[in-house]
């Protein structure tokens, strides 16, 4: 498998013609079948939607924090959120037509506007304004749910969608209110939860689309154990990038919520470690945890050195990150029994490290547009990482990812009430019994008595 090919995810693709980076994973694997289980047109659609939707949640929460704090990067964060909306609307348009894409964009953008209203009202201590924003968000949920119900021909039901949308809205408001109240643990737990929630949304929408247009997705399913593993890893890896960047920003700003943002990042490392443990056992997980945590520490060193204008310290941190890459790559090559190659992994890890450092440096230098572009790249990159890991794991342990669906319907009748002659049915069964139990004449006679 070629890591480089996975480095970028085709986020602006037309969803009906998924192509490009992820799909290449299959071409470059010597293990075609399991790669196809992880990456095929249907699961790629799911991953693409997961990526856009979860980044929406992240950027929305970040923009709301920056807004209430009056930070200089608010505009850039909000603009990135707008680009994310464009991407999502284009994706919807690629499935349901340009007009539907435009309509979707109008509805989706409205809810971002209501969140902005909510932040503004909060900043102005305007309780009425906050209530108005919440009530507008209620209205949005109905409109958005109707749109998707209609578009998917009722595969996604408005009633169920409204519940899902309520959770999204509630999570964002909750994360923001708690941030504003200084309840940072709840605020940051809210970030993780709200990003994870969007993976459920992505699964739901991609399921509806693939069910609606099966031919366009090679009749593949989005709901397989291999696809679930891929998205679990995508979720955990992308949350790592998202939280790492935020923690670095909070660190250099000396923000009050820095400690909690770092703690949430460590919580993410624990989640990732559990995933590794479920596949490679406790010893492997321990090693992974140590190596992975070390790179977070080096990022911290880098932020620290930057704050102190200590170029030597920065260089030292970067040198340590180089060492980290070698160790992390060697670990993964060994764990996957060579399915992932250390050389490819080192290159991929370099992309991750460089993206995070670039996003941080630009933030520090005040190039906010550049910073948020890098954040988007860094976030999306992690979906390639999760896909690559899932591909290797499914190839290594195919039995763990067998489907939980029978291939055929049950035999739920013995014929006793069949419209066909009951007698002949019973007789036929008795005949088989006779053949099967040639020695048991007495038993057969008994059966006949009971049956009649």
């Amino acid at each position: 498998m070629n890591y480089k090919k996975l480095a970028a995810i085709p986020l602006s693709v037309s969803l009906l013609f998924p192509m490009g980076a992820i799909a290449n994973a299959a071409d470059h694997s010597e293990h075609g079948t399991s790669s196809m289980a992880v990456s095929n047109p249907a699961t790629d659609l799911r991953a693409t939607l997961d990526s856009i939707l979860s980044e929406h949640a992240y950027l929305a929460i970040v923009a709301m924090q920056k807004g209430i704090d009056g930070k200089e990067d608010f505009d850039a964060a909000a603009a990135q959120l707008g680009e994310n909306t464009d991407e999502l609307s284009a994706a919807i348009g690629s499935v349901y037509g340009d007009e539907a894409g435009a309509k979707f964009k109008e509805i989706w953008s409205s809810h971002i506007g209501y969140f902005v209203d909510y932040v503004k009202a909060t900043a102005a201590n305007d309780e009425e304004g906050r209530k108005k924003a919440v009530s507008d968000l209620d209205g949005y949920r109905v409109t958005q749910a109707e749109f998707l119900d209609t578009a998917t021909d009722g595969r996604l039901k408005a009633k169920e969608l409204e519940e899902g949308l309520k959770m999204h809205v509630d999570q964002l408001i909750w994360a923001f209110d708690n941030y504003n109240a200084g309840e940072y643990e709840k605020a940051y737990e809210g970030i993780t939860e709200s990003m994870m929630h969007m993976f459920g949304t992505g699964k739901g929408i991609s399921w509806a689309i693939t069910d609606q247009f099966p031919e366009k997705f090679d009749k593949q399913s989005v709901d397989t154990p291999a696809a679930d593993l891929r998205e679990q890893l995508n979720n955990q890896f992308s949350t790592h990038a998202a939280l790492a960047i935020l923690a670095m920003q909070k660190g250099i700003d000396g923000a009050k919520d820095f400690d909690v943002s770092a703690a949430e990042l460590n919580g993410n490392t624990e989640d990732l470690t559990k995933s590794i443990e479920s596949v490679y056992g406790a010893e492997g997980a321990k090693q992974f945890n140590e190596i992975w945590s070390s790179h977070i520490g080096y990022f911290v060193d880098y932020v620290k050195a930057t704050a102190a204008d200590d170029a030597e310290g920065q260089n030292m941190a970067m040198a340590n990150l180089d060492d980290y890459r070698v160790k992390q790559a060697a670990f993964l090559e060994t764990a996957t029994e060579g399915r992932l190659k250390a050389a490819d992994l080192e290159e991929g890890l370099k992309v991750h490290v460089d993206q995070l450092l670039a996003a941080f440096n630009k933030y520090h230098e005040g190039d906010y547009d550049g910073a948020y572009d890098d954040i988007h790249e860094a976030y999306s990159h992690m979906f390639g990482v999760g896909t690559m890991m899932a591909g290797a794991i499914v190839d290594q342990y195919p039995d763990k990812f067998a489907g939980s669906m029978p291939s055929d319907m049950p035999k739920t009748g013995l014929g006793g009430m069949s419209q066909e002659s009951n007698d002949s049915t019973v007789m036929w069964i008795l005949t088989s019994l006779i053949l099967a139990m040639a020695a048991g004449a007495v038993v057969i006679r008994k059966t006949r008595t009971e049956n009649n």
């Binding site: 009056g70 608010f74 209110d177 708690n178 703690a263 049950p410 009748g413 013995l414």
Partner: protein
């Protein structure tokens, strides 16, 4: 998650203490709209602690491990056996003709996706538990209960009959955004050679909106 991670993050927090220029007062002058008014509550962190009341914050699956099934419209009240997949790929069936088999490797009733249960239409000699399954109509209720008495109510959305080899297994057992419970039995003529009925009846149901009752 928070408590242990806070402890382990102590190192990080300490490490960064040095770089934390407490200079957050340099709030930008070219302020974007939302912060045009400095929120006083923010400074004192005296904003009220948000209440989670009425908020929906965590996805919680409502699924239960079913032990009984009740279908009042056709007088069915029965035990549930867990069944799996047979060596030939077929869904297993309950041993008792008056019991219903829940496909245990699949979805829990109440979780997102399709839970599936199968029951016999007849035994060798007479009607079995799902003999009258074809009488079910839209909006009829199906009630499943777990061993602690927690119950979920599903309502019939549609009924379909398929030739036995052509049932859409993916649709019946596969994912759905909402929570479904699909009931299967046999129907049509009994094929003596194949030792099975020629058709399969599937009753599709979905979780009632006022779902959980304890």
């Amino acid at each position: 998650m928070k408590v242990p991670t806070l402890l382990t993050s102590g190192l990080l927090a300490l490490a960064l203490a040095g770089c934390s220029s407490p200079d957050t007062s340099t709030a930008p002058e070219t302020t974007p709209e939302p912060q045009s008014t400095q929120a006083p509550s923010k400074q004192t962190a005296s904003a009220e602690k948000p209440s989670a009341e009425g908020l929906s914050l965590k996805s919680e699956q409502k699924g239960i491990t079913p032990v009984t099934l009740e279908i009042p419209a056709i007088d069915v009240k029965t035990k549930i056996e867990n069944v799996g997949e047979l060596a030939n790929g077929q869904m297993g069936v309950p041993e008792g003709v008056d019991n219903v088999g829940w496909f245990e490797p699949g979805t829990l009733p109440g979780n997102q996706g399709s839970a599936v249960m199968a029951g016999h239409i007849d035994s060798l000699t007479g009607p079995a538990v799902f003999y009258k399954l074809d009488k079910l109509k839209k909006d009829d209720e199906i009630i499943v209960q777990d061993k602690d008495g927690k119950s979920l109510t599903f309502v019939v959305t549609k009924t379909k009959t398929y030739p036995r080899k052509e049932a859409p297994v993916e649709e019946i057992f596969g994912f759905s955004y909402g929570s479904r419970l699909n009931l299967i039995t046999c129907t049509g003529e009994f094929n003596r050679k194949a030792k099975t009925h020629e058709e399969r009846l599937v009753v599709y149901t979905e979780l009632a909106s006022d779902a959980a009752s304890d």
